[in-house]
Subunit: 228 residues, 2 copies
């Protein structure tokens, strides 16, 4: 009955399926969502690629839906079927990049002695990676913070991915509520500091200091921390 499966509003969109890359690492996504045809999978990848490419040049504004459609050889309507809005598209692009980064980070675990050091090192490493593609970073981060409720699931997924990366760096498997809260705060800081840097309101040095500062919170929640 259906033809190429059906990436309809609940299917092909970035929301669902991603038997993709990082999943193995942490169960990146939801198990549901009808599988995509190979051609559909290919289309999806072409779209994400075009998105990242355009973003790498001019940033958020350079990612124009018509251009993405053209670049990825897909009709505008189809693009919208896969990604219901520009924001959805860019958030999906971020999920993609994050998964990639997580994989990279895993290969070379940070070497610090304390959890705080390792987390700070990891975040700075991620930050350095973003510096290499500032426009892309701009597009993704702007999309992330501008996203409204209709994109919550996807944005939440990105948050979770970030949390996993931080917990990984801490070397924790089973964090206490206190630690989870600290991790959330670190995520907030990382995110917000990134924005101030992207908009030219903070220097790289300042971002570094802020990250190091917030990472001290970890010591406070560590069982054997200084406050014990």
């Amino acid at each position: 009955m259906p033809a190429e499966a059906k990436p309809s509003a609940k299917t092909a969109q970035p929301k669902t399926a991603q038997p993709k890359s990082a999943q193995a690492a942490v169960r990146t996504v939801q198990p549901d969502s009808p599988p995509l045809t190979e051609r559909q999978e290919a289309r999806r990848r072409r779209i994400l690629h075009a998105s990242a490419q355009l973003a790498s040049r001019g940033g958020f504004d350079a990612v124009q839906m018509r251009e993405v459609a053209e670049s990825s050889q897909v009709a505008l309507g189809t693009l919208y079927r896969y990604f219901p809005s520009k924001i959805h598209l860019l958030v999906a692009t971020m999920q993609d990049q994050l998964a990639h980064m997580h994989g990279t980070l895993r290969k070379k675990p940070p070497a610090g002695d304390t959890a705080a050091e390792r987390v700070a090192e990891t975040l700075m490493r991620a930050f350095r990676a973003l510096q290499r593609e500032p426009h892309l970073a701009d597009a993704m981060v702007r999309a992330l913070t501008f996203a409204d409720r209709s994109v919550s699931p996807e944005v939440d997924q990105v948050s979770r991915q970030t949390t996993v990366i931080i917990l990984d760096a801490m070397g924790l498997d089973d964090p206490t509520p206190d630690q989870l809260s600290a991790v959330r705060v670190i995520g907030h800081t990382w995110h917000s500091a990134l924005i101030t840097w992207l908009s030219g309101r903070a220097s790289i040095a300042q971002v570094k200091i802020d990250i190091e500062t917030v990472c001290r919170l970890i010591d406070l929640t560590e069982p054997g921390g200084k406050s014990t």
Copy 2:
């Protein structure tokens, strides 16, 4: 020669002045910029009022430039002369509201024993105020995070204002670099936590926890703190 003074690109708009950044940490606004005529001042206020009003209803999307112009009895072109973009307008609206809030907060200083407690209390109070106008909060915060470099001066001004509020709550006049960094991190967290709440990804309780968590950082930087 000029007529009603000239709110031209460099005047009435919030853009100008930037002898700023950390300059006086309190010097809320720019001393320069040609003074506005009374009628211009009135127009500006009408515009900001209309903006806040529309935002209080539907949030970011409900603030449509044509409507703002109509509501404030100003031609569209004039609106754009005063505020070069919707983002500029909303950020200016935020400056307005922030100034108002700072005034309110000053009247009833927080009563906590420690600086951390006072800051947390102050932020939660501000948070409660925002809860009363969630749509307005949404519009302002989304504008703030979406702002690109062309709005940096204004956004920076908002950051500074926030910093002042926090320092006020701490009861500090002359913060150390360490403390300033902690304050920045608290600002990041406040901002980002607000976003997660607005987009429905975090509960009020969670925001509270995060704020309390990050405020503990203050203890770490306090001269007589536990780490000394």
